[in-house]
């Protein structure tokens, strides 16, 4: 006699330890196997695009901090670069280098969280997460030294950066840069070869190359699928064309490749910071920008390679002090498009790590 079974629906989230915020996956399960999955967003929607239309260009910088709060510096950078492009402002050389240093430090910090949370989702009881928090803490200390805050930095300004670095910053950064590679080696030693992690992550949640391009994936998700596309190389902004670094790419596009790409990107970021420190010129860090900035009528799309992918700002100006339209291209929302394709047929345990390997930040997804 055949046993009659029927699928059942389970809500993974909105309050769930592995949804990295308030995200809901409405999954239809057959036992442990996922038959269907529908993502539900919007629990953290704050209407930042609408809010920004009522504030001046400078006042919007703190709002960009609150998009992807794990990569505030990158958001700042993307936004101020878009505004500078719109208003035709050129910024001092030193500020460019400081921006690159901050953005790369932020990339390391963000990937530490991403990888740590991914390993935590795999079930490694907090240990890798806490090891990685330790290094992130050091980066946050550096950010705090520069701009006085540890999460919402609000450091970049239209025309440069808000303040020059204090004198103790460079020695501390140097120390950090010398320490960091050995810590990355430790992460590798901790779990990269671990049989259980390989069994869990290899071959799971494969995102084929063609699909990755078709869904407009970006960042480590796209590169994990084997597409050599990094905006720092493809469309060099700021002073990235002056640095030597490689783009690590994965081969199969599974969760392990995305994890591996993040680890390798941290090494490359350390390389970039080292070069930027050597080349850092003296001088001003902020050009004079009128207090109430009126960019000419027009529109601009500025994009950077944020830790989670291509972060773009589409701004339309009507020559007033506030943007007429302020649109964010959120990398993680678009990366989530393929979530259903990656998850179907896998088990709940896999669903959690596939979701973790995309490394999303809900504040950016919902805005």
């Amino acid at each position: 006699m055949a046993i009659k079974t029927e699928p059942f629906v389970i809500n993974i989230g909105p309050v769930h330890p592995s949804t990295h915020g308030v995200f809901r996956m409405r999954a239809t399960l057959d036992g442990e196997v996922i038959l269907d999955m529908e993502p539900v967003f919007g629990y953290l929607h704050r209407g930042i695009e609408k809010l920004a239309e009522g504030r001046t260009y400078t006042q919007n910088i703190p709002f960009t901090d609150r998009l992807d709060y794990l990569a505030s510096m990158s958001n700042n950078l993307a936004y101020v670069m878009a505004v500078e492009k719109l208003a035709g402002i050129s910024i001092p050389e030193r500020a460019e280098y400081l921006r690159v240093i901050m953005a790369e430090l932020q990339r390391i910090a963000s990937h530490l969280i991403g990888v740590g949370a991914f390993l935590n989702d795999c079930g490694a009881f907090m240990t890798p997460f806490l090891y990685m928090f330790r290094e992130r803490e050091k980066i946050l200390d550096l950010f705090e030294m520069v701009c006085g805050q540890r999460l919402t930095y609000n450091y970049m300004r239209i025309g440069g950066v808000s303040q020059d670095i204090p004198e103790e910053f460079l020695p501390a950064l140097d120390k950090f840069v010398r320490q960091m590679p050995s810590f990355i080696d430790e992460y590798d030693q901790l779990l990269a070869e671990n049989e259980i992690l390989l069994a869990r992550a290899k071959g799971v949640g494969i995102l084929p190359k063609e699909l990755a391009i078709s869904i407009s994936a970006s960042g480590p998700v796209l590169r994990g699928s084997g597409v050599k596309w990094d905006i720092r190389k493809a469309d060099p902004y700021s002073v990235y064309d002056r640095f030597q670094f490689d783009i690590p790419i994965g081969s199969t596009g599974d969760t392990y490749d995305r994890y591996w790409v993040r680890i390798q990107e941290m090494r490359q970021s350390v390389r970039i910071i080292k070069q930027a420190m050597e080349q850092l010129p003296p001088g001003e860090v902020l050009t004079e920008v009128p207090h109430s900035l009126h960019p000419p009528v027009g529109e601009v799309y500025g994009h950077i390679e944020a830790p989670r992918g291509e972060l773009g700002f589409y701004l339309v100006s009507d020559n007033s002090i506030a943007p007429y339209r302020f649109h964010v291209r959120p990398p993680t929302l678009i990366n989530l498009t393929a979530l259903r394709d990656m998850m179907i047929g896998w088990k709940i345990a896999d669903a959690v790590i596939i979701f973790g390997s995309i490394d999303i930040c809900l504040a950016e997804v919902d805005r």
């Binding site: 703190p62 803490e137 050091k138 200390d141 550096l142 049989e195 069994a199």
Partner: protein, 165 residues
């Protein structure tokens, strides 16, 4: 999926955690042990210098949240504005520091303190007496290089972490 590595990967990971057993813990036991925050810390509340303030309200204009409220009146004998009301609703404040940066007379500072929890919401609205610069209310060096030079150096985890490489 195979166990290709004969358990060496697990052994390596366990060796690493064992090594960490003998490392110095990085925990700070907060109320007893306090770290020195950054000299540019954007702590809770604002600090206001009544003598320098001219009542120009640039800070209120630059605030993205509209948390600063200024009411001024004209004083004819002294030929300047008198600040009648200077209120900051800390509940709205996002501590972005734009007001401090935009102040043309260096009359506004962010606070160096960070332990400013309140029990009631109305206590979060700071009127001008509560904001005044005093012994207890230390200004932070954010956007104020002169103040910054007087403050102690920040403690860094980089220096505390006793890992020799």
């Amino acid at each position: 999926m195979r166990f290709e590595r004969y358990g060496i990967g697990v052994a390596k990971g366990m060796a690493l955690t064992f090594k960490h057993l003998f490392r110095h813990p990085i925990t700070t036991q907060y109320p007893e042990e306090k770290l020195t925050v950054s000299r540019r810390t954007r702590g809770n509340e604002l600090v206001w210098d009544r003598g320098k303030c001219t009542g120009c309200a640039t800070c209120a204009k630059s605030c993205p949240q509209g948390a600063i409220r200024i009411v001024t009146s004209v004083s004819t004998e002294e030929n300047k504005y008198l600040v009648e009301k200077f209120e900051v609703d800390i509940g709205y404040c996002i501590f972005c520091g734009l007001c401090v940066e935009s102040c043309p007379f260096d009359a506004l500072f962010l606070s160096y303190d960070y332990e400013r929890a309140r029990y009631r919401r109305q206590e979060l609205v700071m009127a001008k007496e509560g904001l005044l610069l005093s012994e207890k209310k230390q200004p932070s060096g954010y956007a104020r290089p002169k103040v910054e030079a007087t403050l102690p150096k920040q403690t860094l985890l980089l220096d505390r972490d006793k890992v020799k490489k």
